[in-house]
């Protein structure tokens, strides 16, 4: 494909990413959006999450916590989808109204940078896959080479992303069937080796971790909620293309919550089976695949994982780079892809994402939870579902969302209050609840209540309401 053709495709994507889409531009129905979001959700991050959960609570609790927890989180998160579908815009575009024209850019960099932690997980699982494949053939690769091997996943993913949207879509068509086949294979091998009763009887390794069953259960719920809220950064990429708000909402809830929960539970099942079989705890799905699948099928599954992880990284890098370009169209797409790839590689060599997975989830929970609450309160209560598109895009010099030098101070204060609330109830480094409020709300839930309430109450003060609603006179 020629360079000019690729450039035109990417410009076209940005073009469509920037331009609000009207009714005639929308192409997705319910099944389209359900399958696309579901396909995106079933990357190996779901298995790692499941493996993490299995270390803390038993199967019954894991199933209820994951399905019900992820669904209720998705019901709230996907309210943001209504904004992006209605106006045909990315959620980052909307957040200019929330954080201000410059505030949004700083916030976006923080969120997008943290989201890429999930690609670090994928790259590390890819490296683990390849090292196991080599080990099966008698070639032992030293552990210290893991980040170098993982870097190749990022390089291949970036290579696909740089080739433009057609290449990314082709990669998705490879990734989704691979991951679905892997899910089916895992269920088959688990129940071939163990009965449901045996799995139910497994006691998790760290069930005494927090001193009570309730604390363990709520810590896992915290992880599950944070896991769902991480989708916040990707809202709008797809939903702006959906024909109606109803189909967008329920399609996203189905894909991002229910399908994701299903594959996370598969991860739980497999980790418990691994514990039963070997007495060894592992959150790495490649450990399970060899142990449970045997040398031939296990190896095949691992190769599936490696391929799927490359394509997941490609899709993720592409999407985040397009979102970055939507915020700043003058940036070169290639340079943005390379920048974010470099960031993932930096995180890989740091090694902290895998080692401090619960801290990473805490960062996601604290930032995304507060942001989602602010978006919902801002759009549904403060602005009563009316925004000025001309001010959002600064057409004809309209700048109602400029606030104070490009920063919405009220939103920033509310956001920081939410983060402070998070840290007040939960210690993210040791992953320890700090007080009993956590046991009823989780930390992400509490941060959402704090940030949402602070913003709502401040917006009720007349001078602050006037500050926030400079777009009101456009109605």
């Amino acid at each position: 494909m020629s360079k000019q053709t690729k450039k035109r495709q990417i410009h076209s994507e940005v073009y469509y990413g920037m331009v609000p889409l009207g009714k005639k531009d929308k192409i997705y129905g319910f099944w389209d959006i359900f399958l696309i979001t579901g396909g995106w959700a079933i990357a190996t991050w779901a298995y790692v999450q499941g493996g993490q959960i299995a270390t803390m609570i038993g199967l019954e609790e894991a199933v209820t916590n994951t399905f019900f927890g992820m669904t209720v989180a998705g019901l709230f998160l996907c309210l943001c989808v209504l904004i992006t579908t209605r106006y045909g815009i990315d959620i980052w575009m909307y957040q200019k109204a929330l954080f201000g024209y410059f505030g949004l850019i700083i916030f976006a960099v923080i969120i997008l940078a943290s989201q890429l932690g999930y690609d670090v997980i994928n790259a590390e699982v890819y490296a683990s896959s390849l090292m196991k494949v080599f080990a099966e053939f008698g070639i032992t690769i030293p552990e210290y080479l893991t980040p170098y091997i993982a870097t190749t996943c990022v390089i291949f993913g970036a290579w696909i992303a740089l080739r433009g949207p057609i290449a990314v879509r082709t990669a998705t068509r490879i990734m989704v069937p691979c991951l679905m086949a892997l899910g089916v294979f895992i269920i088959f091998t688990v129940f071939r080796n163990f009965s449901l009763q045996e799995l139910l009887n497994v006691e998790p390794l760290y069930e005494a971790e927090y001193g009570s069953g309730l604390a363990n259960y709520m810590v896992v719920l915290e992880w599950n909620i944070a896991f769902i809220f991480a989708w916040f950064a990707s809202i709008g990429v797809l939903s702006r293309l959906v024909k109606t708000e109803r189909t967008a909402y329920w399609g996203h809830v189905g894909g991002f919550s229910i399908v994701m929960a299903s594959f996370t539970v598969i991860g739980v099942l497999t980790a418990l089976a691994m514990l039963l079989a070997t007495g060894v705890e592992s959150v790495d799905p490649t450990d399970w695949l060899l142990e449970l699948g045997g040398p031939v099928f296990g190896l095949m599954a691992i190769l599936f994982v490696a391929v799927a992880n490359v394509t997941t990284v490609a899709v993720s890098l592409y999407g985040i780079s397009i979102s970055t370009k939507v915020l700043k169209p003058e940036l070169s797409f290639s340079k943005v892809v390379i920048f974010w790839s470099g960031w993932i590689v930096l995180l890989l060599f740091w090694g902290g994402i895998w080692d401090y997975y619960s801290v990473f989830l805490a960062l996601v929970g604290a930032t995304s939870g507060s942001a989602v609450a602010l978006i919902v309160v801002d759009f549904f209560f403060v602005r009563r579902q009316k925004i000025s598109m001309k001010d959002l895009y600064q057409v004809d010099g309209k700048k109602a969302y400029r606030y104070t030098g490009g920063f919405n101070i009220v939103a920033i204060i509310s956001f920081l209050a939410g983060v402070a609330g998070y840290l007040w109830v939960y210690e993210p480094i040791e992953a320890v609840p700090r007080n009993d409020i956590f046991l009823y709300t989780t930390a992400t839930g509490f941060s959402m209540i704090v940030s949402g309430l602070v913003y709502l109450l401040l917006s009720m003060i007349k001078p602050l309401n006037d500050y926030l609603r400079k777009d009101k006179k456009r109605e």
Binding site: Y15, V19, P20, G88, Y217, L221, E245, R246, P329, D396
Partner: protein, 54 residues
């Protein structure tokens, strides 16, 4: 340059349409959806409590 100009023109046209008080993008969530959201959320909360107690 032509792309940027086209982009600005397209944005201006679309934002003009969308800021019109009569603009509708399509039907929003209806009352049944609202009830379904509340009911499912309640089921989830009950399910979470039940999941811990079993």
């Amino acid at each position: 340059m032509k792309n940027k100009q086209e982009l600005h023109e397209a944005i201006a046209e679309k934002t003009e349409q969308m800021d019109d008080p009569n603009f509708t993008s399509g039907p929003p969530l209806n009352k049944k959806d609202g009830i379904a959201i509340v009911v499912i959320a309640l089921i989830c909360v009950i399910g979470l409590v039940w999941g811990f107690l079993i």
